[in-house]
């Protein structure tokens, strides 16, 4: 399964949205779209760490790395190519 699809599935499953038809593109800011709570944020970070075998350092914990499917994918790529 390709990376963006995996990430999209995870977000679809875990993000709390207010509208059944809420759809988001890979570039949409998910923090603006649904509502992100502490538990989701923590799950998202753990998901990235555990499923892609990377360590999210404190300096990587920036909203720009996590606020859209594209940005999460780019972040994972930048970490795995090191």
């Amino acid at each position: 399964m390709d990376l963006t699809k995996k990430i999209r599935d995870f977000i679809n499953e875990n993000l709390i949205v207010f509208d059944d038809d809420a759809e988001f593109t890979d570039s949409d800011n998910i923090f603006a779209l649904g509502f992100v709570n502490s538990l989701f944020a923590m799950k998202l970070v753990s998901y990235v760490e555990n499923n892609f075998n990377i360590k999210v350092a404190n300096e990587d914990l920036r909203i720009e790395n996590f606020n859209s499917v594209d940005n999460i994918a780019a972040f994972i790529n930048s970490k795995t190519q090191l």
């Binding site: 709390i16 949205v17 207010f18 509208d19 059944d20 809420a22 923090f31 603006a32 649904g34 509502f35 992100v36 709570n37 502490s38 538990l39 989701f40 944020a41 923590m42 970070v45 404190n58 300096e59 914990l61 920036r62 909203i63 996590f66």
Partner: protein, 352 residues
């Protein structure tokens, strides 16, 4: 046995049944009798805000019926009555209550059971049932204050359980369910009557906690009487009832800057988006007052979730800090979010 006096604060007591709560073994003798004074002990703990649960190898329905006959069934949250390992049952209770193992006291008459649970959960506190009469006097079940919230604690867990059940059976989007709760978040300057509960929050809360510093009543009283500090208390209510005072923010005023010295939220509201909302309200207030905003953070083994919450609320870590262990994060106030539609927020106009 002297160990009992060194136990740390207990949030939940888990009781065995046979030869612990009652005399005899239910599967052998249906006419078991309650041990002397046991109902009183359970009710006393309950009134102090200490939860009670059950972990027993028995036939579920027979045991529940007995507890109901004795008039004490309602005092137990998530009773685990089955034929499995007790360590498993204890783990389930800890997960359902969302408390850590080291805040649990397990009582059983069988040394084997105490050892089995202890071998899997080394952090747990164990008490042999033969010593049960000592229990009410032990420091670990005597919190310094009995607050309005502690006396209602069992009820709050029951409310929460009802919410969870309804949430699971709700078929629409999660957000719609949250909207149906009609949540109301009230953020206000703390008053003297709130301080006991706020002290309790600093002691009991470890995950959503920026520094892990504890403050007692007298220190908090000094804080609310000082111009240097602003102490905020957050309360959450919904159609199921009140979550009580679930959050605390301690702000320090320093010339043109406000520093978040402490931010605590009860883990019961972890998935409600409250942390982000409160931080957003602080950002708004700082902007209106034309003040800078920063936050202190001390990493502990449990509070990463709070660090993530701050980072995702646009707090950025500074390169240097005056003190070791303390991390300083700055918020440049460039991002003010719209609050989510599911919570009605009530704040005082002028905080700062």
């Amino acid at each position: 046995m002297t160990d009992y006096y060194n136990f740390k604060n207990i949030k939940c007591v888990i009781w065995d049944l046979d030869n612990t709560i009652w005399n005899g073994v239910l599967t052998e003798d249906i006419s078991v009798s309650l041990k002397d004074g046991i109902a009183h002990i359970i009710k006393t703990l309950d009134s102090r805000g200490i939860l009670n649960s059950v972990c027993s190898r028995n036939e579920y329905e027979d045991a529940v019926k007995k507890l109901k006959d004795f008039g004490i069934y309602e005092y137990f949250l998530y009773p685990q009555i089955n034929w499995g390992n007790k360590s498993e049952s204890v783990k389930r209770i800890a997960e359902l209550l969302n408390i850590s193992i080291d805040s649990i006291l397990f009582i059983d008459d069988q040394q084997y059971e105490l050892d089995e649970v202890k071998s899997i959960h080394p952090g747990i506190n164990c008490l042999n049932a033969s010593d049960y009469k000592l229990l009410p006097e032990l420091p670990c079940v005597n919190p310094r204050f009995i607050t309005e919230d502690s006396a209602r604690r069992r009820q709050m867990y029951i409310d929460d359980d009802n919410r969870k059940k309804d949430e699971e059976s709700y078929s629409g989007p999660k957000g719609k369910f949250l909207q149906s709760l009609n949540m109301q978040l009230c953020i206000k300057k703390a008053e003297e009557k709130d301080l006991r509960r706020l002290e309790e929050l600093t002691i009991r809360t470890h995950q959503l906690n920026t520094t892990g510093r504890t403050y007692d009543y007298d220190e908090l009283l000094g804080i609310i009487n000082s111009d240097k500090y602003i102490l905020l208390a957050a309360e959450l209510n919904d159609i199921y009832g009140s979550y009580g005072k679930i959050g605390l923010v301690l702000l320090e005023r320093k010339q043109q800057e406000i520093k978040i010295k402490l931010f605590i939220l009860s883990c019961r509201v972890m998935n409600r988006g409250i942390g982000t909302i409160i931080l957003n309200e602080i950002v708004k207030a700082a902007r209106e007052a034309s003040m800078g905003l920063s936050a202190e953070f001390v990493h502990t083994d449990r509070n990463k979730i709070m660090y993530v919450t701050l980072k995702f609320a646009n707090f950025i870590e500074a390169d240097t800090s005056d003190e070791e262990d303390i991390v300083i994060l700055y918020n440049d106030l460039s991002v003010v979010n719209n609050n989510p539609p599911h919570i009605n927020i009530i704040t005082e106009k002028e905080w700062i």
